[in-house]
Subunit: 341 residues, 2 copies
């Protein structure tokens, strides 16, 4: 790359030079965290030369991916996600010889930087471990874009030998649906107490959970936690059966005091044995791949269409007519497509 | 139309001749149910000359639409939807001087014809009333297509003066989400008893409901109904607050024995007063119009793209590569779009 001749690349001088894709792939496959981190930076970059190398790396890593347990962890701010993830990571590394990668999806982190994994020191002990890889949420303006970057990062982490991928979300937005489309298991963290306290949890999230962990069930809050556990157990009976044929479980404990942590991870392992036995893991991942294929195609189509300034201008005029009940949405779609093609 | 010269149109000879759009519009605006029915048949037709007249009719009816209460009614087969809708329609006509149109969304009716409103005689008493218009679910292979046809039919019914539009769905599929995008109020019918009996209700449906009516709460089932009412009331506290700032209500009664029917309709009116007062009705309908605009555009884009046989063939090959982890979904999308444009 003629970076010395290209002044527009000057701003990247301080960053590591862009290497040939093979170098990153070699590094990743040997488990080198520096190459892994740099390759993920390329995935997250919007510069087309970076994207092109990133896509080559992803394709080379693909055959080495897919062997991990992909676990989504969600919960509103204050529920203790960082503490839970750090304690879980250390437990999995020390007691189960696992290699743990922690990724995050939080499209809002644009606005509110640092709200999620923004400060790596929040997981200082875990991040010092060689068996761990921690990466904050990628920047991005659209959830779709952020989700794609995270999904591609999973592939690289798996190729680098991480057998447990924890994907953190904030539990208050649409991100959970995106996460759900890339994980095998969905764990929801809740605070003790039911009802009003949970207003922050978005509709449908509880129904998505394979396991719920009521955190901070310490001292005087233990009674409240037990009440919440009972309320959720009752509520779960009202939900339809999951495709995985697994009945959601509600557990309680304290990540800070290390109470209930080995137990919840034992149940997560039981869940994985269950979905391996009944083939749900395989079919679910194929459904996810299909979903991502459709999403990718449709995103590309939309980008091509809506990215056209002339179309945008026309759309604004026509949208106003729809709002005034002068034109039907379908008529507008017809008009715009005729214009574009 | 030179139908006499065109043998391909011979099959439509027995059907009423295609009239100029103005004739249908005049008929609809004067409240004529025959013209309304024929115009909806045009909406449901896939023949392009029919579609073109249908779109003209819709555009002409649009300024006269929007003044009704649009209510989605869902519940699994056996819950007594037909009985409930017929009794409700008669109650609204007789006691509230309303004009009631009953539409339906059921994409599965392709396979299982007659499962929903297929047999008009199921609502014989209501269908004999001049103030009622009943229309079975339109045929269609995709939910999107069926949903669009129903949504366009709403516009025509409103232009014909129907002030109450009841939209029936089966409560076991994706249809509820489509219905939710076209109604102001969502009513869920349940059977007495909680838990196992409700396995048929799809996840998320309960959370969508603005009001729940536990039907068939008769004689010995009344106790069961009360238990279900209590369980759902508790569960509702676990859900996030609705955008409409309305707390879902659980009522019980019997459509067959006319118990609780005036009461549930009184609550539905209270709900409408609530969303009118806090402007949710207006903002929600504008969101729905925007949603339908995006849906229409994206459907048209997809039809243009996936309708291409060469693209389909290539997609099949590339999809197999994605499943074998040889190519990433994003790489495939890039390849296909380059091919098409």
């Amino acid at each position: 790359m003629p970076s010395a001749l290209n002044p527009s690349l000057a701003q990247f001088r301080r960053k590591p030079k862009l290497l040939p894709a093979e170098r990153y792939v070699e590094g990743i496959l040997s488990g080198d965290r520096v190459y892994l981190g740099q390759a993920i930076t390329l995935i997250e970059s919007n510069i087309s030369s970076h994207q092109s190398v990133a896509q080559t790396i992803i394709t080379a890593c693909l055959p080495h991916s897919g062997k991990s347990q992909r676990i989504g962890i969600t919960g509103t701010p204050g529920v203790g996600k960082s503490t839970f993830i750090e304690a879980s990571g250390l437990h999995l590394i020390d007691d189960h010889q696992r290699k743990v990668a922690v990724l995050a999806i939080d499209p809002s982190s644009q606005v509110n930087r640092g709200s999620i994994l923004g400060d790596k020191t929040r997981m200082e002990r875990l991040s010092r471990r060689e068996e761990a890889f921690i990466r904050p949420s990628p920047a991005g303006t659209t959830l779709g874009g952020v989700a794609r970057k995270t999904r591609e990062s999973i592939i690289l982490c798996e190729a680098a030998g991480y057998d447990t991928i924890l994907i953190e979300t904030v539990g208050v937005g649409q991100s959970e649906i995106a996460v759900h489309s890339m994980v095998d298991c969905f764990l929801l963290l809740l605070l003790p107490g039911a009802g009003d306290e949970l207003q922050g949890i978005k509709r449908g999230i509880v129904e998505m959970a394979d396991l719920v962990f009521i955190n901070k069930a310490e001292a005087e809050r233990k009674q409240l936690a037990k009440q919440a556990q009972k309320a959720y157990r009752n509520a779960i009976h009202l939900f339809a059966k999951k495709e995985s044929d697994w009945t959601a479980e509600i557990h309680l404990g304290s990540a800070l005091q290390q109470i209930g942590l080995p137990e919840i991870w034992e149940r997560i392992q039981t869940y994985f044995e269950h979905i391996q036995r009944n083939q749900f893991l395989v079919t679910h991942r194929q459904e996810q791949a299909n979903y991502w294929l459709s999403e990718s195609i449709e995103d590309a189509l939309k980008q091509w269409f809506y990215g056209d300034e002339a179309i945008q201008a026309k759309l604004d005029t026509l949208r106003a007519k729809v709002m005034r009940q002068e034109l039907s949405p379908f008529a507008v779609a017809e008009l715009l497509l005729k214009e574009k093609l």
